[in-house]
């Protein structure tokens, strides 16, 4: 019984500590009218120069005219109209743009799911099953080893494994599992999801692990002592408390996959469309305005996805 008590007291204490925090504020030497603004200014300048300005240019250019060798200031909606050309008339068949976005969203969802399952499991193992901190750090560093090489190399390394005459197919045929090589291992949705999961699982592991490390072990003990089963502890204690990490990891993965064209290109044998690849093709053909329009649409899509994620948890409060 004593253990339960301690857990409860602990929880109460944490709550009290949080409530008491504002009282701790000391006199800030920079407080006053201009002080805080001056402190924020460098950050604002960087933000304005490297984020707001390029973004504004992209939005402006998306309304410009273009030919094959020039772009000219104008205010036309043709680029957006071209983007959605046939989208209404062709219904119920999907137009190119919708199809491309849908395919990109599909990869987003599937990769989110696989990285979440993988990331959560690995983080859980590191946080709760590995007992000593040095061991945790060691295992954690091992997780980062793939990040020592470039993204392209990590991706290309799959090709000799998965190819028609690759190691996996040779092994399967050697073991008598199949007679003919499995074609869908490479240049398919499967290989794209596999490579993306491999590339981005760590982005899920890190924030979830971080959240889990902050969970007070006493809470878990309290749950166990109150008679919760392992699954109940997981769903009622660990998952809710790890939620900020899950959401942050999800934001990383979703934004990266939405803009990815390299992995989808290489692992999909260039046969699978992605919004990023389309923008790249348009830029190569100097169709900057239409590429800009596409980029604006992609940005809107990503922001919608993120605002949906943020609705699930108040990150500001949790950090």
């Amino acid at each position: 019984m004593e253990r339960v008590h301690r857990g409860v007291t602990n929880a109460v204490n944490t709550g009290a500590g949080r409530a008491a925090r504002p009282a701790r504020t000391r006199r800030n030497p920079f407080a006053g009218t201009g002080g805080a603004l001056a402190l924020a200014l460098p950050m604002w300048l960087v933000f304005a120069l490297f984020f707001l300005l390029p973004l504004a240019v992209t939005v402006i250019v998306s309304f410009w005219e273009f030919t094959q060798y020039s772009i000219e200031p104008a205010f036309i909606l043709r680029n957006y109209a071209d983007l959605f050309d046939g989208c209404l008339e062709d219904l119920p068949y999907l137009c190119t743009t919708l199809k491309t976005y849908l395919s990109t969203l599909k990869f987003c969802f599937l990769v989110w799911l696989t990285t979440l399952i993988l990331g959560f499991t690995i983080a859980y193992f590191l946080a709760f099953h590995v007992r000593t901190l040095p061991m945790q750090v060691t295992l954690f560093l091992i997780c980062t080893i793939p990040f020592w090489t470039s993204i392209v190399i990590r991706m290309i390394a799959w090709i000799p494994l998965l190819g028609r005459n690759g190691l996996v197919n040779q092994a399967l045929i050697g073991m008598g599992v199949t007679d003919a090589p499995l074609e869908w291992l490479l240049y398919s949705d499967f290989s794209v999801i596999l490579a993306l999961t491999h590339l981005y699982a760590l982005f899920m592991v890190v924030p979830i692990y971080n959240s889990m490390m902050r969970i007070d072990p006493a809470l878990i003990e309290a749950a166990v002592d109150s008679g919760a089963s392992g699954l109940q502890t997981l769903t009622n204690v660990i998952v809710p408390l790890a939620k900020p990490g899950i959401i942050i990891g999800s934001i990383f993965v979703v934004t990266i996959v939405m803009g990815d064209f390299l992995t989808i290109g290489i692992m999909g044998g260039q046969q699978i469309a992605s919004v990023g690849k389309r923008i790249q093709t348009e830029i190569q053909y100097l169709q900057f305005p239409i590429a800009a329009a596409n980029a604006v649409m992609l940005l809107v899509a990503v922001m919608l996805a993120i605002s949906a994620l943020l609705r699930m948890v108040d990150i500001r409060k949790e950090l």
């Binding site: 094959q68 020039s70 199809k99 490479l186 240049y187 044998g269 093709t281 190569q284 053909y285």
Partner: protein
């Protein structure tokens, strides 16, 4: 109007003034910034030019499409560009290139007739697409439109050109392949590839579709919207039926697809076939009855080039046409602008193999000393006259390029 160009101009000017070195009177070696694709940038040529002329060549390597993009958006960041003729209908109206004075090019009149007139041995070759002779001359030095007759102002001086066809893996294919239609033959379902570079990919597709007899194009290199629609519909049909294993967008991807056996027949570039072969894997650059898709690349000068840099550029180009570079490129399978001078720098047996379609009397080596072919081999497609004489079309940018790129994206998304 503040375009990106003027902004960049301002930025470079600012950089130049603030970084200007103290004035030095001595004639230091001129450095020419040479913009082109990596394939055209041989370190040996830069080294030899530096030895012979005392001019430093600084390569800037980008992809085919990027070369054109840089000429349009960053014309101050190179001194010499090696770009494809088919990009000219976009580059010349931009006004960023200037005509080269034929009077300052020593061998302007010896440039291969296939480039100057579109003829081989007096016979006209196919001119679908952007044939070099159609875009070779300007009305005046700073002209922004092409001259219909030969003039003093040349747009590009050829560096390399060639005739492209399909590459095949003869060891993995039963029977003969003799038509572009093979690319769409269900026999090779799941084992073919084409390029994901829209302007070239659509030409290969057009060669294949026309070979099946379903359509005859007015001009494959300048399709109408209906022709583009038809071509893309056919491609989508083939893609849905699983005809293609992959699409490739750079040289190395095409080599890997072929060498690994993922693909047994695909559009390919000549040096890629050589690269597969040097791995000891059988690969053939198969001549086809419908002919070749040709391309040509050449030197152009940015409009802003002047003074010693301009002199050095002319000097380098004249040196390039004087034989050593031509021979060097010939031994990689390209054709140079001036054949006669290249011949002087090649062994007779090499010339016979590369140009006359003869059996190799000795082993054929690459310029870097790798074994390319053993004695007794014959070049795929035969002699210069047979290969360049069978050109059916040239790489091109269509008038309906914008529409074509949109439809191509549709094909990729299908």
């Amino acid at each position: 109007m503040t375009t990106r160009r003027t902004f960049l101009k301002g930025a470079t000017a600012l950089g130049a003034t603030s970084l200007a070195a103290p004035y030095v009177h001595a004639q230091e070696a001129v450095t020419l910034r040479y913009l082109s694709t990596a394939v055209n940038q041989s370190p040996a040529i830069a080294q030899k030019a530096s030895e012979d002329l005392g001019i430093n060549i600084e390569y800037i390597a980008v992809t085919t499409d990027d070369v054109a993009r840089r000429v349009i958006t960053q014309p101050n960041l190179f001194d010499l560009v090696d770009t494809e003729y088919f990009a000219l209908p976009n580059l010349v109206p931009s006004g960023n290139l200037k005509g080269m004075d034929a009077n300052r090019i020593d061998r302007a009149d010896q440039i291969a007739s296939v480039i100057r007139e579109g003829t081989v041995d007096g016979q006209m070759v196919g001119t679908d697409g952007t044939a070099p002779f159609e875009v070779l001359y300007l009305e005046e030095e700073t002209g922004q439109s092409f001259a219909s007759d030969p003039s003093r102002w040349i747009t590009l001086i050829p560096t390399t050109y060639n005739a492209d066809t399909l590459g095949i893996r003869p060891d993995l294919i039963d029977g003969e392949v003799n038509s572009w239609a093979a690319l769409l033959d269900p026999k090779f379902a799941g084992k073919t590839a084409i390029l994901n570079i829209p302007s070239i990919g659509i030409m290969d597709a057009a060669m294949a579709i026309e070979a099946t007899g379903e359509i005859t194009y007015g001009d494959k290199g300048n399709m109408t919207r209906e022709e583009i629609d038809f071509t893309i519909d056919k491609l989508i049909e083939a893609k849905r039926a699983g005809q293609f294993r992959a699409f490739w967008s750079n040289f190395n991807e095409s080599v890997n697809l072929m060498a690994s056996g993922e693909v047994v027949i695909q559009s390919m570039w000549s040096p890629a076939v050589t690269a597969v072969r040097t791995q000891g894997i059988a690969c053939k650059y198969q001549p086809l009855k419908e002919g070749y898709r040709a391309w040509a690349s050449g030197f152009g000068l940015p409009r802003t080039l002047d003074g010693r840099k301009e002199d050095a550029a002319y000097e380098f180009i004249n040196w390039f046409l004087s034989g050593w570079a031509g021979a060097h490129l010939s031994k990689q399978g390209y054709y140079p602008a001036v054949l006669g001078t290249a011949k002087e720098y090649m062994e007779p047996y090499e010339w016979a193999y590369w140009y006359e379609g003869a059996e190799a009397e000795q082993d054929i080596m690459s310029p870097s000393g790798d074994l390319l072919e053993q004695a007794g081999a014959v070049r795929d497609g035969g002699s210069y006259e047979e290969r360049m004489g069978s050109v059916a079309c040239w790489n091109a940018v269509m008038d309906e390029n914008q529409y074509m790129v949109r439809k191509w994206n549709e094909f990729i998304a299908a």
